[in-house]
Amino acid sequence: MVSLHGYLVLAAFLFGLGLYGALARTNAIRILMAIELMLNAVNINLVAFAQYLTPGLVTGAVFAVFVITVAAAEAAVGLAIVLLVARQRGVIEVDKINLMKW
Amino acid sequence: MFGIPEPWWSVIRAVVWALFIIIFLAVNAIVAVWLERKVSGRIQRRIGPQRVGRPIGWAQTIADVFKLLVKEDVRAEATDKWVFLLAPAIPFAAITLMFLVVPWGKNLIPLNLNIGLLFVVAVTSFEVLGLFMAGWGSNNKWALLGAMRTAAAMISYELPMVLAILAVGMTAGSLNMNDVVNAQSRVPFILIQPVAFLIYYIASLAEANRTPFDFTEAESELVAGANIEYSGLRWAFFFLAEYGSLVGTSAIAATLFLGGWRGPILPGPVWFLIKTYLLVYVAMWIRWTLPRVRIDQLLDFGWKFLLPLALADIAVTGIVLALL
Protein backbone atom coordinates (compact mmCIF):
# COMPACT_ATOMS: atom_id res chain seq x y z
CA MET A 1 0.00 0.00 0.00
CA VAL A 2 1.22 3.43 -0.85
CA SER A 3 1.02 5.76 2.08
CA LEU A 4 -0.22 9.31 1.85
CA HIS A 5 3.33 10.52 2.25
CA GLY A 6 4.38 8.88 -0.97
CA TYR A 7 1.96 10.98 -2.97
CA LEU A 8 2.84 14.09 -1.01
CA VAL A 9 6.56 13.71 -1.63
CA LEU A 10 6.00 13.01 -5.31
CA ALA A 11 3.82 16.10 -5.56
CA ALA A 12 6.38 18.20 -3.70
CA PHE A 13 9.17 17.08 -6.01
CA LEU A 14 7.04 17.79 -9.06
CA PHE A 15 6.13 21.19 -7.67
CA GLY A 16 9.77 21.96 -7.04
CA LEU A 17 10.71 21.11 -10.61
CA GLY A 18 7.85 23.20 -11.93
CA LEU A 19 8.78 26.10 -9.66
CA TYR A 20 12.36 26.01 -10.84
CA GLY A 21 11.20 25.93 -14.45
CA ALA A 22 8.85 28.84 -13.97
CA LEU A 23 11.51 30.94 -12.28
CA ALA A 24 14.67 30.06 -14.16
CA ARG A 25 13.46 29.77 -17.73
CA THR A 26 12.87 32.74 -19.96
CA ASN A 27 10.76 31.27 -22.73
CA ALA A 28 7.15 32.26 -22.08
CA ILE A 29 5.74 29.01 -23.41
CA ARG A 30 8.05 26.97 -21.24
CA ILE A 31 7.04 29.01 -18.22
CA LEU A 32 3.43 28.17 -18.96
CA MET A 33 4.37 24.51 -19.13
CA ALA A 34 6.14 24.73 -15.80
CA ILE A 35 3.05 26.32 -14.30
CA GLU A 36 1.01 23.40 -15.59
CA LEU A 37 3.41 21.08 -13.81
CA MET A 38 2.92 22.98 -10.56
CA LEU A 39 -0.84 22.85 -10.93
CA ASN A 40 -0.62 19.11 -11.46
CA ALA A 41 1.44 18.70 -8.33
CA VAL A 42 -1.19 20.60 -6.41
CA ASN A 43 -3.88 18.40 -7.91
CA ILE A 44 -2.11 15.25 -6.81
CA ASN A 45 -1.97 16.68 -3.32
CA LEU A 46 -5.64 17.62 -3.34
CA VAL A 47 -6.83 14.24 -4.53
CA ALA A 48 -4.52 12.35 -2.21
CA PHE A 49 -5.63 14.35 0.81
CA ALA A 50 -9.26 13.94 -0.15
CA GLN A 51 -8.94 10.20 -0.54
CA TYR A 52 -6.87 9.54 2.55
CA LEU A 53 -8.16 12.06 5.06
CA THR A 54 -11.82 12.38 4.18
CA PRO A 55 -12.81 9.09 2.55
CA GLY A 56 -16.29 9.36 1.16
CA LEU A 57 -16.12 13.12 0.85
CA VAL A 58 -14.87 14.35 -2.48
CA THR A 59 -14.14 17.98 -1.69
CA GLY A 60 -10.52 17.68 -2.76
CA ALA A 61 -11.43 16.06 -6.05
CA VAL A 62 -13.97 18.80 -6.73
CA PHE A 63 -11.26 21.32 -6.11
CA ALA A 64 -9.02 19.44 -8.54
CA VAL A 65 -11.73 19.68 -11.18
CA PHE A 66 -11.80 23.42 -10.71
CA VAL A 67 -8.03 23.60 -10.90
CA ILE A 68 -8.10 21.73 -14.20
CA THR A 69 -10.75 24.13 -15.47
CA VAL A 70 -8.71 27.13 -14.48
CA ALA A 71 -5.63 25.59 -16.01
CA ALA A 72 -7.45 25.22 -19.31
CA ALA A 73 -8.58 28.83 -19.21
CA GLU A 74 -5.12 29.97 -18.22
CA ALA A 75 -3.50 28.04 -21.06
CA ALA A 76 -5.91 29.47 -23.61
CA VAL A 77 -5.52 33.09 -22.55
CA GLY A 78 -1.84 32.79 -21.71
CA LEU A 79 -0.94 31.30 -25.04
CA ALA A 80 -3.06 33.85 -26.88
CA ILE A 81 -1.10 36.59 -25.14
CA VAL A 82 2.21 34.86 -25.85
CA LEU A 83 1.29 34.52 -29.50
CA LEU A 84 0.30 38.16 -29.70
CA VAL A 85 3.56 39.27 -28.12
CA ALA A 86 5.54 36.95 -30.36
CA ARG A 87 3.85 38.39 -33.39
CA GLN A 88 4.37 41.98 -32.42
CA ARG A 89 7.81 41.84 -30.84
CA GLY A 90 9.25 38.78 -32.52
CA VAL A 91 10.45 37.31 -29.21
CA ILE A 92 8.89 35.06 -26.62
CA GLU A 93 11.62 35.42 -24.03
CA VAL A 94 10.04 37.09 -21.06
CA ASP A 95 13.18 38.95 -20.06
CA LYS A 96 13.09 40.76 -23.38
CA ILE A 97 9.46 41.70 -23.01
CA ASN A 98 10.15 44.24 -20.31
CA LEU A 99 8.28 47.14 -21.75
CA MET A 100 4.59 47.27 -21.01
CA LYS A 101 4.06 49.86 -23.68
CA TRP A 102 5.93 50.27 -26.91
CA MET B 1 -12.87 -19.76 -12.18
CA PHE B 2 -11.17 -22.92 -13.51
CA GLY B 3 -9.16 -23.13 -10.33
CA ILE B 4 -7.20 -20.01 -11.15
CA PRO B 5 -6.99 -17.44 -8.33
CA GLU B 6 -8.85 -14.22 -8.93
CA PRO B 7 -6.02 -11.71 -9.58
CA TRP B 8 -4.42 -14.01 -12.12
CA TRP B 9 -7.73 -14.59 -13.76
CA SER B 10 -8.18 -10.87 -14.38
CA VAL B 11 -4.64 -10.65 -15.71
CA ILE B 12 -5.34 -13.47 -18.16
CA ARG B 13 -8.59 -11.79 -19.13
CA ALA B 14 -6.81 -8.50 -19.77
CA VAL B 15 -4.11 -10.15 -21.88
CA VAL B 16 -6.64 -12.07 -23.93
CA TRP B 17 -8.68 -8.96 -24.58
CA ALA B 18 -5.60 -6.95 -25.49
CA LEU B 19 -4.44 -9.60 -27.94
CA PHE B 20 -7.92 -9.85 -29.34
CA ILE B 21 -8.20 -6.11 -29.90
CA ILE B 22 -4.80 -5.86 -31.55
CA ILE B 23 -5.45 -8.85 -33.79
CA PHE B 24 -8.87 -7.51 -34.61
CA LEU B 25 -7.37 -4.17 -35.61
CA ALA B 26 -4.77 -5.84 -37.81
CA VAL B 27 -7.31 -8.08 -39.49
CA ASN B 28 -9.68 -5.17 -39.78
CA ALA B 29 -7.08 -3.10 -41.59
CA ILE B 30 -6.62 -5.91 -44.11
CA VAL B 31 -10.34 -6.40 -44.59
CA ALA B 32 -11.14 -2.71 -44.67
CA VAL B 33 -8.47 -1.92 -47.25
CA TRP B 34 -9.77 -4.74 -49.39
CA LEU B 35 -13.31 -3.49 -48.94
CA GLU B 36 -12.27 0.03 -49.77
CA ARG B 37 -10.66 -1.11 -53.00
CA LYS B 38 -13.70 -3.13 -53.92
CA VAL B 39 -16.14 -0.33 -53.09
CA SER B 40 -14.12 2.27 -54.95
CA GLY B 41 -13.86 -0.11 -57.87
CA ARG B 42 -17.57 -0.72 -58.00
CA ILE B 43 -18.31 3.00 -57.75
CA GLN B 44 -16.02 3.62 -60.71
CA ARG B 45 -17.47 0.60 -62.50
CA ARG B 46 -14.30 -1.37 -62.09
CA ILE B 47 -14.10 -4.60 -60.15
CA GLY B 48 -11.16 -3.80 -57.90
CA PRO B 49 -8.44 -6.30 -57.04
CA GLN B 50 -9.04 -9.76 -58.48
CA ARG B 51 -5.73 -11.32 -59.39
CA VAL B 52 -4.13 -12.18 -56.06
CA GLY B 53 -6.57 -14.61 -54.54
CA ARG B 54 -8.97 -15.13 -57.39
CA PRO B 55 -11.69 -14.42 -58.07
CA ILE B 56 -12.29 -11.66 -55.52
CA GLY B 57 -8.73 -10.67 -54.79
CA TRP B 58 -8.94 -11.53 -51.12
CA ALA B 59 -5.17 -11.98 -50.80
CA GLN B 60 -4.25 -8.62 -52.30
CA THR B 61 -3.99 -6.73 -49.02
CA ILE B 62 -2.23 -9.66 -47.38
CA ALA B 63 0.36 -9.45 -50.12
CA ASP B 64 0.58 -5.71 -49.48
CA VAL B 65 1.16 -6.35 -45.80
CA PHE B 66 4.06 -8.65 -46.62
CA LYS B 67 5.42 -6.04 -48.96
CA LEU B 68 5.31 -3.47 -46.17
CA LEU B 69 6.93 -5.86 -43.73
CA VAL B 70 9.97 -6.47 -45.89
CA LYS B 71 10.34 -2.86 -46.96
CA GLU B 72 13.29 -0.89 -45.72
CA ASP B 73 12.64 1.29 -42.72
CA VAL B 74 14.06 4.59 -43.86
CA ARG B 75 14.86 7.40 -41.50
CA ALA B 76 16.27 10.59 -42.90
CA GLU B 77 19.39 12.03 -41.32
CA ALA B 78 17.84 15.32 -40.28
CA THR B 79 14.83 13.88 -38.51
CA ASP B 80 14.23 14.32 -34.82
CA LYS B 81 15.16 10.76 -33.98
CA TRP B 82 13.02 9.62 -31.08
CA VAL B 83 10.05 11.77 -31.92
CA PHE B 84 10.14 10.39 -35.44
CA LEU B 85 10.51 6.80 -34.34
CA LEU B 86 7.84 6.85 -31.65
CA ALA B 87 5.21 8.82 -33.54
CA PRO B 88 3.53 5.87 -35.33
CA ALA B 89 2.85 4.10 -32.05
CA ILE B 90 0.69 6.82 -30.60
CA PRO B 91 -2.29 6.89 -32.98
CA PHE B 92 -2.30 3.12 -32.89
CA ALA B 93 -2.25 3.09 -29.11
CA ALA B 94 -5.10 5.58 -29.01
CA ILE B 95 -7.22 3.42 -31.30
CA THR B 96 -6.44 0.29 -29.33
CA LEU B 97 -7.46 1.99 -26.11
CA MET B 98 -10.67 3.17 -27.71
CA PHE B 99 -11.77 -0.42 -28.22
CA LEU B 100 -11.29 -1.04 -24.52
CA VAL B 101 -14.81 0.12 -23.71
CA VAL B 102 -16.71 -1.07 -26.76
CA PRO B 103 -19.20 -3.80 -25.92
CA TRP B 104 -19.25 -6.78 -28.26
CA GLY B 105 -22.21 -8.50 -26.73
CA LYS B 106 -24.01 -9.06 -23.50
CA ASN B 107 -21.25 -9.06 -20.85
CA LEU B 108 -18.69 -9.08 -23.64
CA ILE B 109 -16.87 -5.87 -22.90
CA PRO B 110 -13.13 -5.60 -22.25
CA LEU B 111 -13.49 -3.00 -19.53
CA ASN B 112 -16.85 -2.01 -18.16
CA LEU B 113 -15.96 1.55 -17.29
CA ASN B 114 -18.50 3.70 -15.53
CA ILE B 115 -17.65 6.60 -17.78
CA GLY B 116 -16.92 4.72 -20.97
CA LEU B 117 -18.14 7.47 -23.28
CA LEU B 118 -15.80 9.98 -21.69
CA PHE B 119 -12.98 7.48 -21.95
CA VAL B 120 -13.53 7.18 -25.68
CA VAL B 121 -13.36 10.92 -26.09
CA ALA B 122 -10.24 11.16 -23.93
CA VAL B 123 -8.23 8.53 -25.76
CA THR B 124 -9.17 9.74 -29.21
CA SER B 125 -7.99 13.19 -28.23
CA PHE B 126 -4.35 12.21 -28.06
CA GLU B 127 -4.28 10.69 -31.49
CA VAL B 128 -3.47 14.23 -32.56
CA LEU B 129 -0.21 14.10 -30.64
CA GLY B 130 1.06 11.19 -32.71
CA LEU B 131 0.34 12.98 -35.95
CA PHE B 132 1.95 16.10 -34.64
CA MET B 133 5.03 14.15 -33.59
CA ALA B 134 5.21 12.65 -37.06
CA GLY B 135 4.96 16.09 -38.63
CA TRP B 136 7.55 17.67 -36.38
CA GLY B 137 9.89 14.70 -36.26
CA SER B 138 10.04 14.32 -40.03
CA ASN B 139 11.64 17.74 -40.37
CA ASN B 140 9.77 18.19 -43.60
CA LYS B 141 7.58 21.13 -44.44
CA TRP B 142 4.89 19.06 -46.08
CA ALA B 143 4.73 16.73 -43.14
CA LEU B 144 4.52 19.65 -40.72
CA LEU B 145 1.84 21.38 -42.77
CA GLY B 146 -0.15 18.19 -42.98
CA ALA B 147 0.20 17.57 -39.28
CA MET B 148 -0.85 21.10 -38.38
CA ARG B 149 -3.87 20.94 -40.63
CA THR B 150 -4.88 17.60 -39.28
CA ALA B 151 -4.45 18.78 -35.74
CA ALA B 152 -6.53 21.86 -36.42
CA ALA B 153 -9.26 19.79 -38.04
CA MET B 154 -9.27 17.20 -35.29
CA ILE B 155 -9.48 19.77 -32.52
CA SER B 156 -12.33 21.53 -34.26
CA TYR B 157 -14.29 18.36 -34.78
CA GLU B 158 -13.68 16.89 -31.38
CA LEU B 159 -16.01 19.40 -29.75
CA PRO B 160 -19.12 18.63 -31.83
CA MET B 161 -18.30 14.96 -31.43
CA VAL B 162 -18.11 15.22 -27.65
CA LEU B 163 -21.34 17.17 -27.56
CA ALA B 164 -23.10 14.60 -29.74
CA ILE B 165 -21.87 11.85 -27.44
CA LEU B 166 -23.06 13.90 -24.49
CA ALA B 167 -26.53 14.11 -26.03
CA VAL B 168 -26.56 10.33 -26.22
CA GLY B 169 -25.40 10.10 -22.63
CA MET B 170 -28.21 12.40 -21.59
CA THR B 171 -30.77 10.33 -23.43
CA ALA B 172 -29.48 7.07 -22.03
CA GLY B 173 -29.02 8.54 -18.56
CA SER B 174 -25.58 7.00 -18.28
CA LEU B 175 -22.08 7.22 -19.66
CA ASN B 176 -21.57 3.49 -19.36
CA MET B 177 -21.46 1.78 -22.73
CA ASN B 178 -23.46 -1.21 -21.52
CA ASP B 179 -26.19 1.05 -20.18
CA VAL B 180 -26.29 2.95 -23.44
CA VAL B 181 -26.79 -0.28 -25.35
CA ASN B 182 -29.42 -1.48 -22.90
CA ALA B 183 -31.28 1.82 -23.21
CA GLN B 184 -31.68 1.03 -26.91
CA SER B 185 -33.42 -2.27 -26.36
CA ARG B 186 -36.61 -0.94 -27.91
CA VAL B 187 -35.63 1.95 -30.17
CA PRO B 188 -32.10 2.64 -31.44
CA PHE B 189 -30.94 6.15 -30.68
CA ILE B 190 -30.59 7.03 -34.33
CA LEU B 191 -34.37 7.52 -34.33
CA ILE B 192 -34.41 9.52 -31.11
CA GLN B 193 -31.29 11.55 -31.79
CA PRO B 194 -30.93 11.80 -35.58
CA VAL B 195 -29.23 15.18 -35.38
CA ALA B 196 -26.70 13.91 -32.88
CA PHE B 197 -26.02 10.93 -35.13
CA LEU B 198 -25.40 13.19 -38.12
CA ILE B 199 -23.11 15.43 -36.13
CA TYR B 200 -21.26 12.46 -34.70
CA TYR B 201 -20.86 10.82 -38.05
CA ILE B 202 -19.59 13.92 -39.82
CA ALA B 203 -17.24 14.66 -36.95
CA SER B 204 -16.04 11.08 -36.87
CA LEU B 205 -15.18 11.28 -40.56
CA ALA B 206 -13.04 14.29 -39.74
CA GLU B 207 -11.63 12.53 -36.69
CA ALA B 208 -10.70 9.47 -38.74
CA ASN B 209 -9.27 11.70 -41.49
CA ARG B 210 -11.53 10.36 -44.16
CA THR B 211 -12.40 12.17 -47.32
CA PRO B 212 -13.93 14.77 -47.51
CA PHE B 213 -11.77 15.71 -44.53
CA ASP B 214 -8.60 13.76 -45.24
CA PHE B 215 -5.91 16.26 -44.38
CA THR B 216 -3.48 13.65 -43.22
CA GLU B 217 -3.21 12.24 -46.68
CA ALA B 218 -4.32 14.95 -49.08
CA GLU B 219 -2.17 13.39 -51.77
CA SER B 220 -2.88 16.04 -54.34
CA GLU B 221 -1.83 19.00 -52.25
CA LEU B 222 0.35 17.81 -49.39
CA VAL B 223 1.91 14.82 -51.12
CA ALA B 224 1.02 12.54 -48.22
CA GLY B 225 0.75 14.79 -45.21
CA ALA B 226 2.18 13.90 -41.86
CA ASN B 227 3.39 10.43 -42.77
CA ILE B 228 5.29 11.44 -45.89
CA GLU B 229 8.71 10.50 -44.52
CA TYR B 230 7.68 7.10 -43.25
CA SER B 231 8.18 3.80 -44.96
CA GLY B 232 7.79 0.13 -44.30
CA LEU B 233 6.48 -1.01 -40.97
CA ARG B 234 6.23 2.45 -39.43
CA TRP B 235 4.11 3.64 -42.29
CA ALA B 236 2.05 0.50 -41.91
CA PHE B 237 1.32 1.53 -38.34
CA PHE B 238 -0.10 4.82 -39.53
CA PHE B 239 -2.16 2.94 -42.02
CA LEU B 240 -3.33 0.55 -39.35
CA ALA B 241 -4.29 3.46 -37.16
CA GLU B 242 -6.12 5.15 -40.01
CA TYR B 243 -8.30 2.18 -40.73
CA GLY B 244 -8.51 1.35 -37.06
CA SER B 245 -9.75 4.84 -36.45
CA LEU B 246 -12.35 4.42 -39.16
CA VAL B 247 -13.62 1.16 -37.75
CA GLY B 248 -13.32 2.48 -34.20
CA THR B 249 -15.47 5.53 -34.76
CA SER B 250 -17.89 3.36 -36.71
CA ALA B 251 -18.02 0.88 -33.84
CA ILE B 252 -18.72 3.67 -31.37
CA ALA B 253 -21.40 5.06 -33.67
CA ALA B 254 -22.93 1.61 -34.02
CA THR B 255 -22.95 1.23 -30.25
CA LEU B 256 -24.30 4.66 -29.50
CA PHE B 257 -26.84 5.05 -32.26
CA LEU B 258 -27.63 1.71 -33.88
CA GLY B 259 -28.16 -0.38 -30.78
CA GLY B 260 -24.73 -1.97 -30.64
CA TRP B 261 -24.84 -5.72 -30.39
CA ARG B 262 -28.61 -5.83 -30.05
CA GLY B 263 -30.49 -7.53 -32.83
CA PRO B 264 -32.76 -10.44 -33.53
CA ILE B 265 -31.71 -14.05 -34.17
CA LEU B 266 -27.98 -13.58 -34.74
CA PRO B 267 -25.61 -13.46 -31.74
CA GLY B 268 -24.43 -10.12 -30.38
CA PRO B 269 -20.91 -9.89 -31.82
CA VAL B 270 -22.22 -10.67 -35.29
CA TRP B 271 -24.76 -7.89 -35.09
CA PHE B 272 -22.10 -5.57 -33.77
CA LEU B 273 -19.79 -6.35 -36.67
CA ILE B 274 -22.60 -6.03 -39.20
CA LYS B 275 -23.56 -2.60 -37.94
CA THR B 276 -19.98 -1.46 -37.66
CA TYR B 277 -19.07 -2.50 -41.16
CA LEU B 278 -22.27 -0.99 -42.49
CA LEU B 279 -21.07 2.35 -41.20
CA VAL B 280 -17.58 1.66 -42.52
CA TYR B 281 -19.12 1.03 -45.90
CA VAL B 282 -21.04 4.30 -45.72
CA ALA B 283 -17.80 6.12 -44.95
CA MET B 284 -16.20 4.56 -48.01
CA TRP B 285 -19.20 5.39 -50.12
CA ILE B 286 -18.94 9.01 -48.99
CA ARG B 287 -15.21 9.01 -49.63
CA TRP B 288 -15.57 8.00 -53.24
CA THR B 289 -18.38 10.45 -53.81
CA LEU B 290 -17.35 13.76 -52.33
CA PRO B 291 -14.29 15.87 -53.07
CA ARG B 292 -12.00 17.08 -50.34
CA VAL B 293 -13.08 20.34 -48.76
CA ARG B 294 -10.71 23.25 -48.30
CA ILE B 295 -9.15 23.55 -44.87
CA ASP B 296 -10.77 26.90 -44.06
CA GLN B 297 -14.16 25.62 -45.20
CA LEU B 298 -13.65 22.62 -43.00
CA LEU B 299 -12.88 24.74 -39.95
CA ASP B 300 -15.73 27.12 -40.74
CA PHE B 301 -18.12 24.22 -41.03
CA GLY B 302 -16.99 22.74 -37.76
CA TRP B 303 -17.02 25.86 -35.65
CA LYS B 304 -19.85 27.82 -37.20
CA PHE B 305 -22.29 25.10 -38.08
CA LEU B 306 -21.68 21.79 -36.33
CA LEU B 307 -20.81 23.23 -32.93
CA PRO B 308 -23.88 25.48 -32.61
CA LEU B 309 -26.02 22.67 -33.95
CA ALA B 310 -24.62 20.27 -31.37
CA LEU B 311 -25.19 22.81 -28.60
CA ALA B 312 -28.75 23.34 -29.76
CA ASP B 313 -29.24 19.60 -29.86
CA ILE B 314 -28.05 19.30 -26.28
CA ALA B 315 -30.30 22.14 -25.18
CA VAL B 316 -33.33 20.58 -26.86
CA THR B 317 -32.48 17.19 -25.40
CA GLY B 318 -32.23 18.72 -21.95
CA ILE B 319 -35.55 20.52 -22.27
CA VAL B 320 -37.32 17.43 -23.56
CA LEU B 321 -35.83 15.27 -20.83
CA ALA B 322 -36.91 17.80 -18.21
CA LEU B 323 -40.45 17.91 -19.58
CA LEU B 324 -40.86 14.13 -19.81
Binding site: F15, G21, V47, A61, Q88 | L118, S125, F126
Partner: protein, 178 residues
Amino acid sequence: MNWQLVTFYILGLVILYAAYRVVTSAVITHAALWLAVALVGVAGIYLQLQAEFLAIIQVLIYVGAIVTIIIFAIMLSPLREIKTEEKDRRGGATRMGRAVASVEWGLAPVAAGLLFALGMTWAYSRQAWPVGSVPPGLITEPLGKSLMTTYLLPFEVASVLLLVAMVGAIVLAIRGQK
Protein backbone atom coordinates in the same frame (compact mmCIF):
# COMPACT_ATOMS: atom_id res chain seq x y z
CA MET C 1 5.18 -8.23 -4.03
CA ASN C 2 3.17 -5.10 -3.64
CA TRP C 3 2.02 -4.23 -7.11
CA GLN C 4 0.51 -0.94 -6.11
CA LEU C 5 3.79 0.22 -4.67
CA VAL C 6 5.71 -0.88 -7.74
CA THR C 7 3.24 0.90 -10.01
CA PHE C 8 3.50 4.00 -7.88
CA TYR C 9 7.29 4.03 -8.08
CA ILE C 10 7.28 3.52 -11.83
CA LEU C 11 4.69 6.22 -12.36
CA GLY C 12 6.51 8.56 -10.02
CA LEU C 13 9.83 8.06 -11.79
CA VAL C 14 8.20 8.59 -15.19
CA ILE C 15 6.48 11.76 -14.00
CA LEU C 16 9.58 13.18 -12.39
CA TYR C 17 11.87 12.38 -15.30
CA ALA C 18 9.36 13.83 -17.75
CA ALA C 19 9.00 16.94 -15.63
CA TYR C 20 12.76 17.25 -15.49
CA ARG C 21 12.90 17.08 -19.25
CA VAL C 22 10.13 19.65 -19.53
CA VAL C 23 12.31 22.06 -17.63
CA THR C 24 15.61 21.20 -19.23
CA SER C 25 15.23 19.91 -22.79
CA ALA C 26 16.81 22.28 -25.28
CA VAL C 27 14.11 22.00 -27.94
CA ILE C 28 10.84 23.42 -26.74
CA THR C 29 8.77 21.01 -28.80
CA HIS C 30 10.38 18.18 -26.89
CA ALA C 31 9.48 19.95 -23.69
CA ALA C 32 5.84 20.02 -24.79
CA LEU C 33 5.90 16.31 -25.61
CA TRP C 34 7.54 15.48 -22.28
CA LEU C 35 4.82 17.54 -20.64
CA ALA C 36 2.30 15.22 -22.24
CA VAL C 37 4.14 12.23 -20.78
CA ALA C 38 4.17 13.80 -17.34
CA LEU C 39 0.47 14.59 -17.53
CA VAL C 40 -0.42 11.06 -18.57
CA GLY C 41 1.64 9.85 -15.63
CA VAL C 42 -0.34 12.08 -13.31
CA ALA C 43 -3.49 10.59 -14.77
CA GLY C 44 -2.09 7.20 -13.74
CA ILE C 45 -1.61 8.52 -10.21
CA TYR C 46 -5.26 9.59 -10.18
CA LEU C 47 -6.26 6.11 -11.25
CA GLN C 48 -4.28 4.72 -8.38
CA LEU C 49 -6.14 7.06 -6.06
CA GLN C 50 -9.44 5.65 -7.38
CA ALA C 51 -10.21 8.99 -9.01
CA GLU C 52 -11.10 7.49 -12.35
CA PHE C 53 -13.12 10.47 -13.50
CA LEU C 54 -10.27 12.85 -12.78
CA ALA C 55 -7.83 10.64 -14.66
CA ILE C 56 -9.97 10.71 -17.79
CA ILE C 57 -10.57 14.42 -17.46
CA GLN C 58 -6.84 14.87 -17.04
CA VAL C 59 -6.10 13.04 -20.28
CA LEU C 60 -8.94 14.76 -22.10
CA ILE C 61 -8.22 18.31 -21.04
CA TYR C 62 -4.52 18.35 -20.35
CA VAL C 63 -3.20 16.04 -23.03
CA GLY C 64 -5.97 16.48 -25.57
CA ALA C 65 -6.43 20.20 -25.23
CA ILE C 66 -3.72 22.02 -23.34
CA VAL C 67 -0.69 20.23 -24.78
CA THR C 68 -2.19 20.54 -28.23
CA ILE C 69 -2.74 24.26 -27.72
CA ILE C 70 0.82 24.63 -26.49
CA ILE C 71 2.10 22.83 -29.56
CA PHE C 72 -0.01 25.06 -31.72
CA ALA C 73 1.39 28.10 -30.01
CA ILE C 74 4.93 26.83 -30.56
CA MET C 75 4.23 26.21 -34.20
CA LEU C 76 2.54 29.54 -34.75
CA SER C 77 5.11 31.73 -33.04
CA PRO C 78 8.19 32.67 -35.08
CA LEU C 79 10.04 29.39 -35.58
CA ARG C 80 13.48 30.96 -35.62
CA GLU C 81 13.07 32.17 -32.08
CA ILE C 82 12.06 28.74 -30.92
CA LYS C 83 14.99 26.93 -32.42
CA THR C 84 17.61 29.24 -31.00
CA GLU C 85 15.70 29.54 -27.79
CA GLU C 86 17.78 29.55 -24.63
CA LYS C 87 21.13 28.64 -26.10
CA ASP C 88 21.78 25.10 -27.15
CA ARG C 89 24.64 23.95 -24.97
CA ARG C 90 27.23 22.19 -27.07
CA GLY C 91 30.50 20.82 -25.75
CA GLY C 92 31.06 18.20 -23.13
CA ALA C 93 31.53 14.56 -23.95
CA THR C 94 28.06 13.17 -23.58
CA ARG C 95 24.65 14.60 -23.08
CA MET C 96 24.68 13.44 -19.47
CA GLY C 97 28.04 15.01 -18.92
CA ARG C 98 26.85 18.19 -20.54
CA ALA C 99 23.76 18.25 -18.39
CA VAL C 100 25.72 17.78 -15.20
CA ALA C 101 28.37 20.23 -16.29
CA SER C 102 25.89 23.03 -16.88
CA VAL C 103 24.39 23.61 -13.51
CA GLU C 104 21.51 25.70 -14.71
CA TRP C 105 20.36 23.14 -17.25
CA GLY C 106 21.27 19.95 -15.48
CA LEU C 107 21.63 19.78 -11.74
CA ALA C 108 19.81 22.87 -10.57
CA PRO C 109 16.26 21.65 -11.37
CA VAL C 110 16.89 18.38 -9.57
CA ALA C 111 18.37 20.20 -6.65
CA ALA C 112 15.44 22.59 -6.50
CA GLY C 113 12.93 19.74 -6.67
CA LEU C 114 14.79 17.73 -4.07
CA LEU C 115 15.11 20.70 -1.77
CA PHE C 116 11.42 21.44 -2.04
CA ALA C 117 10.50 17.82 -1.50
CA LEU C 118 12.76 17.57 1.57
CA GLY C 119 11.35 20.76 3.00
CA MET C 120 7.81 19.61 2.49
CA THR C 121 8.60 16.21 3.95
CA TRP C 122 9.94 17.91 7.03
CA ALA C 123 6.76 19.96 7.22
CA TYR C 124 4.55 16.94 6.69
CA SER C 125 6.43 14.91 9.26
CA ARG C 126 5.33 17.29 12.00
CA GLN C 127 1.73 16.25 11.33
CA ALA C 128 0.51 12.86 12.44
CA TRP C 129 -1.76 11.83 9.63
CA PRO C 130 -3.63 8.57 9.62
CA VAL C 131 -2.05 6.05 7.27
CA GLY C 132 -5.43 4.65 6.24
CA SER C 133 -5.88 3.30 2.76
CA VAL C 134 -7.84 4.60 -0.19
CA PRO C 135 -11.49 3.58 -0.07
CA PRO C 136 -12.26 1.03 -2.75
CA GLY C 137 -15.18 2.87 -4.30
CA LEU C 138 -14.76 5.11 -7.33
CA ILE C 139 -15.43 8.77 -6.82
CA THR C 140 -17.27 9.46 -10.06
CA GLU C 141 -20.75 9.40 -8.64
CA PRO C 142 -20.20 11.41 -5.45
CA LEU C 143 -18.11 13.85 -7.47
CA GLY C 144 -20.90 14.44 -9.95
CA LYS C 145 -23.46 14.77 -7.20
CA SER C 146 -21.48 17.25 -5.18
CA LEU C 147 -20.66 19.28 -8.29
CA MET C 148 -24.37 19.61 -8.97
CA THR C 149 -25.44 20.28 -5.37
CA THR C 150 -22.94 21.58 -2.84
CA TYR C 151 -20.54 23.14 -5.29
CA LEU C 152 -23.02 24.32 -7.88
CA LEU C 153 -22.06 27.95 -7.53
CA PRO C 154 -18.32 27.44 -8.00
CA PHE C 155 -19.14 25.13 -10.89
CA GLU C 156 -21.15 27.87 -12.60
CA VAL C 157 -18.45 30.40 -11.84
CA ALA C 158 -15.92 28.08 -13.47
CA SER C 159 -18.14 27.88 -16.53
CA VAL C 160 -18.31 31.66 -16.69
CA LEU C 161 -14.55 31.78 -16.29
CA LEU C 162 -14.12 29.43 -19.24
CA LEU C 163 -16.50 31.51 -21.30
CA VAL C 164 -14.64 34.69 -20.46
CA ALA C 165 -11.33 33.03 -21.23
CA MET C 166 -12.65 31.85 -24.58
CA VAL C 167 -13.93 35.28 -25.50
CA GLY C 168 -10.69 36.82 -24.32
CA ALA C 169 -8.56 34.45 -26.36
CA ILE C 170 -10.66 35.07 -29.46
CA VAL C 171 -10.46 38.83 -29.01
CA LEU C 172 -6.70 38.66 -28.60
CA ALA C 173 -6.32 36.49 -31.67
CA ILE C 174 -8.51 38.74 -33.78
CA ARG C 175 -6.67 41.87 -32.75
CA GLY C 176 -3.40 40.19 -33.57
CA GLN C 177 -4.55 39.45 -37.06
CA LYS C 178 -4.73 43.06 -38.18
